[in-house]
C-alpha cells in the first residue's frame, strides 16, 4: 500500500532530475526546429531531385519508432562508422531528428498558408528573393505556427521517458532505479506521472490561451 514517508523520501530525488529532463527536451527542440527549416524548404523545392528524396526520408523517419532510431544511433553507428556518442547526446540528437520531420510539416503549412498574392506583390515591387522571404513570407508564416510548435515542445517533453531505453537517466529511469532498490514501484511511478502532469498540463493551458488570443486577433484583422 501507499507509504507516505517513503514518498517524501524519494520526491527530492525525482525533482532533482527534472532540470535534466527539461534540458533534454529543450536541446532536442532546438535541433528539431533548426533542422526543420532546411527540411521544409527542401520539400517545397521545385527541383524534384531534391524534394522527392527528402520527402521520402522524412516520411521514413516519421513512420518508424523513436526507440529504434535511438538504438540505431547507440548500437549501429559505433559499428558502422566508429562514432560512439554518450547516451545523453544520442538521445537529444535522436529526439531532435525525429521531431524535425514533424516541425518541417508545420513550417511547410505555415509557408503555404501565405496567400499567393503576397508573392506576386513582392515580385511586382521588385523585391529580391531573400528580401521577399525575410520581409514578406517569414513575418506572415511564423506567427500561426507558434502554438503548434508549443504543442510539439510538450509532446517532446512527454517523449523523454523513451530515452530511458538507451540508459539516459531521466525521470522514468530514476523512478525505476528507486523502485528496484526498495521494491516499491507504486510511489515512485505515481510521482513521475504527477510530475509530468504538473509540468505539461499548465504548459498546454498556456499554449491554448496563446492560440485563442491569436485566433481573436486574426479575426479582428479580417474585420478591419
Amino acid at each position: 500500500m501507499w507509504d507516505w514517508n517513503y514518498t517524501w523520501d524519494i520526491l527530492p530525488e525525482l525533482i532533482k532530475v527534472v532540470p535534466l529532463t527539461i534540458a533534454i527536451t529543450l536541446a532536442g527542440f532546438i535541433i528539431a526546429s533548426l533542422l526543420g527549416v532546411p527540411l521544409a524548404l527542401a520539400r517545397r523545392s521545385k527541383s524534384r531531385w531534391f524534394s522527392i528524396p527528402v520527402t521520402a526520408i522524412a516520411d521514413f523517419i516519421r513512420k518508424t519508432p523513436l526507440i529504434i532510431q535511438l538504438s540505431v544511433i547507440v548500437f549501429v553507428l559505433p559499428q558502422l562508422i566508429g562514432l560512439s556518442l554518450p547516451p545523453f547526446f544520442a538521445g537529444v540528437i535522436g529526439l531532435g531528428i525525429h521531431y524535425s520531420t514533424y516541425l518541417s510539416e508545420v513550417y511547410r503549412s505555415g509557408i503555404d498558408a501565405v496567400p499567393k498574392g503576397q508573392w506576386e506583390a513582392a515580385t511586382a515591387l521588385n523585391f529580391k528573393k531573400l528580401k521577399t522571404w525575410i520581409r514578406i513570407i517569414f513575418p506572415q508564416s511564423i506567427p500561426p505556427t507558434i502554438p503548434v510548435m508549443g504543442n510539439y515542445l510538450i509532446v517532446m517533453f512527454k517523449e523523454t521517458p523513451t530515452l530511458s531505453a538507451i540508459t539516459v537517466v531521466e525521470l522514468l529511469m530514476t523512478a525505476k532505479e528507486l523502485g528496484s532498490t526498495s521494491f516499491k514501484y507504486l510511489e515512485a511511478l505515481t510521482l513521475v506521472g504527477l510530475i509530468f502532469l504538473a509540468l505539461s498540463y499548465p504548459s498546454a493551458l498556456i499554449v491554448r490561451a496563446i492560440e485563442k488570443r491569436m485566433q481573436r486577433r486574426g479575426r479582428s484583422v479580417l474585420t478591419k
Binding site: K63, T162, G193, F196
Partner: protein, 218 residues
C-alpha cells in the same frame, strides 16, 4: 556474411505478428474510448463532462511509457491484481490514444454547422437518427485524416511495449542482437523496414476509407 541477412527475418516476422495484433486490438479499444469520451465531453451533464475531461487531460498529460510502467509495475501493488503484459499493453495503448482520439471526435462534432442540427430537428428526426444519419457521416469524413495520423502514432507506440517484456517486433530485434552483435546493423535495418511497411499499409487502408467516406461529397 549475407548482406541481406534473410535468416534474421523469421524471428522478426514473429514479432511483427504480435505488433500487428497489438495494433489492431488497441486501435479498436482506442476508437471506442475516443467516441465515448468525445461525446461525454459534449454532454449536458456536468459530472459526465468533468469525468471525461479529467480522463483526457491525465492521459494526454503523462506519457505513454509512464502509463505502461504504472499499470504494469505500480498498479499490482495497489490492488493486488496482476495483469498480463499483453492486457496491460492493450489497455494502456487504448486509453492513451483514446484520449487523443476523443479530442478529434469532440472538435469535429463541434465543427459540423449548426444548421445541420436545426434542419434535423425541423425534419422531426429523433436524436439518434440525427446522430446516425446527419452528424456522424459528415464528422466521420473530417475525422479520418486525423485518425490516420494517430494510427501511425499508435503503431509506433507499440514499440515501447518491449520495455514491459512483451515479445513484439522491437523486443525480438533486441533479443536477436544479443546473440548476433555483428549483425546489429542488419537487424535494425530490417526492423525499420518492417515498421515502415506496416505503417504504409495502414496509411493506404485509411486512404481507401477516406475515399469511401467522401463518396457523394463535394
Amino acid at each position: 556474411m549475407d548482406m541481406l541477412a534473410i535468416d534474421l527475418l523469421p524471428p522478426l516476422l514473429k514479432g511483427l505478428q504480435l505488433t500487428v495484433l497489438l495494433t489492431i486490438f488497441s486501435t479498436i479499444l482506442a476508437l471506442c474510448i475516443a467516441f465515448l469520451a468525445g461525446f461525454a465531453r459534449l454532454s449536458k451533464f456536468r459530472l459526465v463532462r468533468g469525468f471525461a475531461t479529467v480522463y483526457v487531460e491525465v492521459f494526454r498529460g503523462t506519457s505513454l511509457l509512464v502509463q505502461l510502467f504504472w499499470m504494469y509495475f505500480a498498479l499490482p501493488m495497489l490492488v493486488d491484481i496482476r495483469f498480463s503484459a499483453m492486457t496491460v499493453a492493450i489497455i494502456a495503448l487504448g486509453l492513451n490514444y483514446g484520449a487523443y482520439g476523443s479530442e478529434i471526435v469532440r472538435s469535429t462534432i463541434l465543427a459540423i454547422p449548426k444548421g445541420q442540427v436545426e434542419a434535423s430537428i425541423a425534419l422531426n428526426l429523433t436524436p439518434f437518427q440525427r446522430l446516425r444519419r446527419v452528424i456522424l457521416p459528415q464528422a466521420w469524413s473530417i475525422m479520418l485524416p486525423s485518425f490516420g495520423n494517430l494510427q501511425i502514432e499508435l503503431l509506433k507506440g507499440t514499440s515501447l511495449v518491449y520495455l514491459i517484456t512483451l515479445a513484439e517486433l522491437t523486443y525480438q530485434g533486441m533479443m536477436l542482437r544479443t546473440y548476433n552483435i555483428a549483425q546489429t546493423a542488419a537487424i535494425f535495418i530490417w526492423i525499420l523496414v518492417l515498421y515502415y511497411a506496416t505503417a504504409s499499409i495502414l496509411t493506404f487502408i485509411i486512404r481507401l476509407a477516406e475515399r469511401r467516406a467522401n463518396v457523394g461529397r463535394g
